[in-house]
């Protein structure tokens, strides 16, 4: 018995040592200095390429997967002998966010990762995200391509910058010019005209809007956000505030009432519960006249597997009524590298947010670059006029605002998919909906 107890004690000790060995040392959030750097450099010279961990959801059928592949190939070509990227591929946005949250809870986030959907905030909260401002100041060339606007947009309340954006998002809505012509209408300038346009399209035998309330209710929420953001100054302020703490406002309630009408009378019949792919399919197959979405969708319009032939020729892009447009910067990439591979992780971050990546993602996925320093080639302009139109519309807009996905936490965004069906079927009214969104704000931890 004594022998068994001793054996068990040995096993427990071994496991304890193993666990303590795996525990990570606290990380400095400042750039590393002096002797540490020298020791690290000495180690690196003897141990081959330094590993940098990176997580991505831009794989498989993701619209940015081709750009990601080109970017990674180019990085490996340039730095492969010194830096070895250890990539974790996660098959969807949801899987990615859930995995990153779990890793954040155990302080084991990758060295570089996309800080979308609140992941950046978790890295800031657990103290692993590095302040990137000093590194930007050290490298004016990199800073030039990131741009002051993107830096300002992502600067935290404490004055630090915990992520670097990789693209700006300008989002209007696409409309089918042939259907508009047949219905005798043009893009609306007011929301009243917008609703009457929907009625005219319906009378002409077309489904006005391609929508989906499932997942993050992307297309419907773009309409909702545009209604709020262009309603008046208060609505516009709400759509530029982060995080929003109160949705129970007249602008939100009024917009929700309009959305109820749109989902009931002017959307594809399977919009409730459908996912984004359904809405995109409805629009690309010319079964609906409008869809709210950004320039990254342009590639789908010329893809014969997704769209009817020649669809891109029959499409236009418009400002939301009251001259509104979404204009924001992606949260971008966060750096959580430890001191021993900081230099290499920073090299990758610079490459991922630098000119080559921005240009690659513009050309392959329609992601708009952060500054005008990335010039659009004449060939690109001729090939993708809808992307160019998005940029032109941004300069004409009177109201600019951010998407709900950026200004609200995941608890709020998750609530939309549950509440839209209740709103449409009359189980709750717009005010209750708005109150439930406000309640969701306080559920987020």
């Amino acid at each position: 018995m004594k022998r068994i107890l001793l054996s068990m004690a040995a096993v427990v000790t071994a496991i304890a040592l193993l666990v303590s060995g795996c525990t990570k040392a606290p990380v400095s959030t400042e750039p590393s200095q002096g002797t540490n750097k020298e020791t690290a450099a000495a180690d690196k010279s003897t141990n081959g390429p330094v590993e940098v961990t990176y997580a991505t959801f831009r794989v498989g059928a993701h619209v940015q997967a081709p750009g990601e592949k080109i970017m990674l190939e180019e990085f490996n070509r340039l730095y492969g002998d010194k830096i070895k990227l250890v990539i974790e591929e996660l098959p969807s946005d949801d899987v990615y966010v859930n995995k990153m949250k779990a890793l954040a809870a155990s302080n084991s986030l990758p060295d570089v990762f996309d800080g979308k959907n609140g992941v950046r905030e978790l890295a800031i909260a657990n103290g692993t995200a590095r302040n990137l401002l000093p590194y930007l100041e050290e490298d004016p060339e990199w800073k030039k391509y990131v741009g002051d606007m993107a830096i300002k947009a992502n600067t935290n309340e404490d004055g630090n910058l915990y992520s670097i954006s990789y693209s700006q998002r300008i989002i209007g809505y696409y409309y089918n010019k042939s259907m508009f012509e047949k219905a005798g209408i043009k893009p609306a300038e007011t929301w009243e005209e917008f609703m009457s346009n929907c009625e005219a399209l319906k009378k002409a035998g077309f489904t006005p809007f391609a929508n989906a309330t499932g997942e993050n209710a992307w297309t419907v929420n773009l309409l909702l956000g545009a209604m709020i953001g262009t309603a008046n100054e208060a609505g516009n302020k709400l759509m530029n505030e982060k995080p929003v703490t109160n949705f129970n406002t007249p602008e939100v309630i009024n917009a929700l009432e309009n959305i109820k009408k749109i989902l009931t009378d002017y959307s594809n019949t399977d919009a409730l519960g459908a996912v984004y792919a359904n809405a995109a399919n409805v629009f690309c197959q010319e079964q609906a006249a409008m869809i709210a979405n950004g320039p990254w969708m342009v590639g789908d319009f010329t893809n014969p597997e997704k769209s009817v032939e020649g669809l891109d020729q029959r499409l236009g892009v418009a400002l939301y009524p009251n001259k509104g447009i979404y204009s924001e910067y992606d949260p971008g990439f966060v750096l959580c590298a430890k001191d021993d591979n900081l230099e290499e992780a920073l090299t990758f971050l610079k490459f991922r947010t630098g000119p080559f990546s921005q240009k690659t993602f513009l050309e392959t996925a329609g992601s708009l670059p952060l500054t005008n320093n990335i010039e659009l080639s004449e060939e690109f302009k001729a090939k993708k006029p809808l992307v160019v139109q998005h940029l032109e519309l941004a300069s004409q807009a009177e109201y600019k605002f951010k998407t709900l996905d950026v200004i609200a936490d995941s608890s709020v965004i998750d609530s939309f998919a549950k509440l839209y069906p209740e709103l449409v079927f009359g189980e709750i009214d717009a005010q209750t909906f708005a109150q439930k969104l406000t309640d969701a704000v306080y559920r987020q931890k």
Binding site: I4, V11, I15, V97, N98, K101, A102, A104, A105, G118, E121, L122, A125, N126, T213, G214, N268, T269, D270, L272, G273, S410, S411, D414, A417, K418, L419, P421, E422, F425, E427, I428, R443, Q444, K445
Partner: protein, 292 residues
Amino acid sequence: MKVKKRWIIIFLTPAVLLFAFVYLTSLYILVTTSFTDLTAGGGGNFVGLKNYIELFKPASEFWSVLKNNVIWVLLQSTVHVYLGVIVALILARNKWYTSLVRTIYMLPNIISNAALGMLFIFILNPKFGLINNTWRLISGNDAYMQNWFMDPKTAFGSVTMTWLPYAGITAILVMAEMTSIPDSIYEAAIIDGASQLQINMFIVLPLMRNIIGTTTILAASNMLQKLDIILLTTSGGPGTRTTNMPMSIYRTALIDNNYSLANAQGVFLILFGLVAVLLIRKIYRMNENILG
């Protein structure tokens, strides 16, 4: 005897260690963190019963989640098991259709829940789904449109129908147990003039008590684990109409980032499961010998 004891220890140690490190440690962490303020961003300070009070306060959504779960456990423990037993009794008669029906009835049980979920999304699709199209054909009403999963009046029933009728596992287990009944018992009953119904009611079913109890436990506990098919079909909506406890735990942990509140729900889920199992064992008197 000493050698035998040593071998018992050697063979049991890996399983015990595995259980201790995988389950017991997890359980310990689950229970202890349910009394803290642990979130995805940090925390972990002791807060006493705060999470449990939050869970059971009158306005908490957890009440409707709990109600859904109780209804599903009851339906699965009764209707689902009843259907399985009936199918087993019919198929045990070994007719020409037995093999075919048994295979078809088992199909939903061997398909992955993800595939089954997708299947139902298509069958119940309001626009092109089989159900709506069939009704349009029968009624002649081309405008008929029912969103089965998203209409608050039909959502719960629609989700329930993705698992309730498919009791293939129950049927197979009951049929297997029925083969252990000696032929002499059937022969004696037939000689005494018992009808097929009487044989089933007074001989087969009483002898099947333990296996029916076991399948009831399996069916009930299955309802405490369901997540994938709900996530695929309704994500727990509209509102909380189709949210069960696993779905609520998933949301609280991974959407709201509130790990400690999710863990409090996890502790309650385990207790709920234990009570359900004990109750079923008691109802079916599973500790007692069937033959008295």
